[in-house]
Assembly symmetry: D2
Homo-oligomer: 258 residues x 4
Amino acid sequence: MQPPIRVTIWNEFVHERQNAAVAEIYPRGIHAALAEGLGGNTDFATRTATLDEPEQGLPPEVLDATDVLLWWGHAAHDAVLDETAARVQQRVLAGMGLIVLHSGHFSKVFKRLMGTSCALCWREAGERERVWVVNPGHPIAAGLGACIEIGQSEMYGEPFGIPAPDELVFVSWFQGGEVFRSGATWTRGSGRVFYFSPGHEVYPIYHHPEVLRVIANGIRWARPQGAAADTPRHVPAEQARERVEPRGGSVAHPGQGA
Amino acid sequence: MQPPIRVTIWNEFVHERQNAAVAEIYPRGIHAALAEGLGGNTDFATRTATLDEPEQGLPPEVLDATDVLLWWGHAAHDAVLDETAARVQQRVLAGMGLIVLHSGHFSKVFKRLMGTSCALCWREAGERERVWVVNPGHPIAAGLGACIEIGQSEMYGEPFGIPAPDELVFVSWFQGGEVFRSGATWTRGSGRVFYFSPGHEVYPIYHHPEVLRVIANGIRWARPQGAAADTPRHVPAEQARERVEPRGGSVAHPGQGA
Amino acid sequence: MQPPIRVTIWNEFVHERQNAAVAEIYPRGIHAALAEGLGGNTDFATRTATLDEPEQGLPPEVLDATDVLLWWGHAAHDAVLDETAARVQQRVLAGMGLIVLHSGHFSKVFKRLMGTSCALCWREAGERERVWVVNPGHPIAAGLGACIEIGQSEMYGEPFGIPAPDELVFVSWFQGGEVFRSGATWTRGSGRVFYFSPGHEVYPIYHHPEVLRVIANGIRWARPQGAAADTPRHVPAEQARERVEPRGGSVAHPGQGA
Amino acid sequence: MQPPIRVTIWNEFVHERQNAAVAEIYPRGIHAALAEGLGGNTDFATRTATLDEPEQGLPPEVLDATDVLLWWGHAAHDAVLDETAARVQQRVLAGMGLIVLHSGHFSKVFKRLMGTSCALCWREAGERERVWVVNPGHPIAAGLGACIEIGQSEMYGEPFGIPAPDELVFVSWFQGGEVFRSGATWTRGSGRVFYFSPGHEVYPIYHHPEVLRVIANGIRWARPQGAAADTPRHVPAEQARERVEPRGGSVAHPGQGA
């Protein structure tokens, strides 16, 4: 039997404390709502973390004990220290799964891992969104029907400034006329990354059972799979697997890298 | 008739001035050798730039007038300012092509665009490398035979800490027993990126006609193709293409992003 | 200066001769309308071919003289001989570009090259389609705005039974609530394949200037780029590039393949 | 607890009965050797099937009860009926995993699913092969070191006529100077496909513990994940999720497809 998946739900936890509409929907914060909503998944061992905690909630010992990290941020992307973002990035490259939710598309963590603008079009009008499954065989879509209907959502529209996803799982339709690649995956180093766009905080999207199912599926999909491999390594000629007689000049010095 | 491709060859220009073996092979610098070696391509308008120039050789007006940038760095990656690397990254996202050569795998520019470690294994023993074409239909492989033979090369070995390439063009065999994904492409934003590993500075690899052909092919492949698209954009409800009646709360503020 | 791109527009040419609504829009056939609509592209040398011609319009000498083939079929997919489909497939693998239009998703040629069902959802109700550019830097999207508005279109919906595209260029929004990956590319062997879904024959979609621009862009993108490489090849031990002493048993026989 | 993975190992079973060298290594056939070698994986429920059995060993009821199919063929590719190959292809599209071994690259099943030539270069000289892990985080590489050493192997060389893999896991080095993409994955429909090249029948490669580990990892990776989705579906206007008033002509007829 596999050990439980150690899930850490990180939230900047700002709008829930500043905006009455948000507080009504998520009185104890989006992180708490997600933890509760995912509570039925007995294969998860879940904790939460927030920006105002020591080391922004993500000290090395927490990251080292995390298999999959959920990231929710919106108003306070700039408050996340470069050092925190770098630590998360390194941990992903070493194998930790990362699920980036909604406005997390503009987080330092996601932008560092993608290398692109991560920009998009947007409109906050409470319109209908329909999240279509374009990859029915993908484990993240397991148990869903043809699409998820979301009564009120924020429009996120193309072009979305991401690298071509390794796998595209969902594409959304919006009432106002736009489309969006709303569920996409990438592998970075040995870590799996899943971006899922539904989730604007003024609508009760994280109470939607099918949205919670997608996130649970994403957690299972993103758990570490193989080994980490990000250390540059010098292989001296005498350790080569086939015999090599060194010849020619040299610029290398110990510790200098390739 | 198409206008010439504006090529800028950037070089940190360090080892050629410090190491006698390198100076003998590239007396005026790798940038000058590449400019000369590519000189027969009459569809290129080529300039060079080096780290010791004002604004590290890459002020905005140079980047704005560059269709394809070649990057050679090795000893001085850390001397490239974050600001310079960020400027190059933004220009790539906006459509400029980028060709990263050999030890440039560890440059700030490449690591920012990839989001990964870009680490690899290496050995400096002057061994044979054979660069196999795995994608004969790709324009970067045009005019080559089954492989390029390089008599003396630095070994670069797997695992190479890159995101899965959009296209894999070359895979190298090394005498000492390793393999390496030696030619690979990615699109980032609207810009095309080509990494090509042969080129260690203590061997005369940039005088090799087939290596120069690959670089010339790469330049043509990487020239800007479409439009830039990296600006986040708010689409107010009254500008939606289908009629939308706004309903529900709001957290958005002008200029805040999605 | 590059030689002209030799374009062959193939059409089953059935509905235009059987259905009055179609005949009114395309009186001389969709192939003739496309040839005329693409006529302003002076870098193309265009011919047409139809199913009722000898060898179904695609004898080897026509395929050998074709750089990019456009495929339009709908009612007569089954009438295309396996032999014809195999010939087209081989020519694509050898480097010919292929542009598959609308209902061509279910053609033998496309299904053979994809290896999948190529199935989709559909509705013929003359609803609005909006073709969004998700990849603004791609040459097939050059010269377009954010999207193409099509007043009347057939809905094609997900899941679309294709392999993950190498590049996704367009995603469509439909009035009735669906989305569709409406412009996608693949490389197969040395040939480039572009599928573009707008084009139902009871609406004048191939008279739409932006649709014609996409097809023209697609033709330029799909022109052959490198070399063909589809021949299995035995490399005897005495021809190996590194010395090998054969040892061990054998099951190979001349001509048997690997 | 998950149910066992139902594995069917299919073998043409020809060379083991005709060639003394092969018979010595695999006296009861490669299928039996694989079944035995995989026997320690208690999460598998394994059966074997061979070409000379009724319906070529793969009647619908066997395929329907198979989660992952292993395919070994070499001398008798042409003896596999098109009908058998089509049945396997359909079952893969519906979600069954498929692991194609060594000379299976030229099987009807693999060529149908890939749509390409699947050709390669080859040499039967019993030379050394070193299978490098290029994707250490991939579950198929779990538990391996940097590479697998195979003392005697058949050379398979590039260019390999496959579509760009969704994921590249292994690249092989050969003593005679070639490289090969020796472990690669694709998704086709809802099914996962893994090609793994080591395994020539005149060498005892399927007795190698790390080769068996790769195959076991591949089986776990390839088990069905989500739902099947390959049925074209008409969505009448009155069933559209958003209101649509049909307008315009029609060419559709019941059962005709899109």
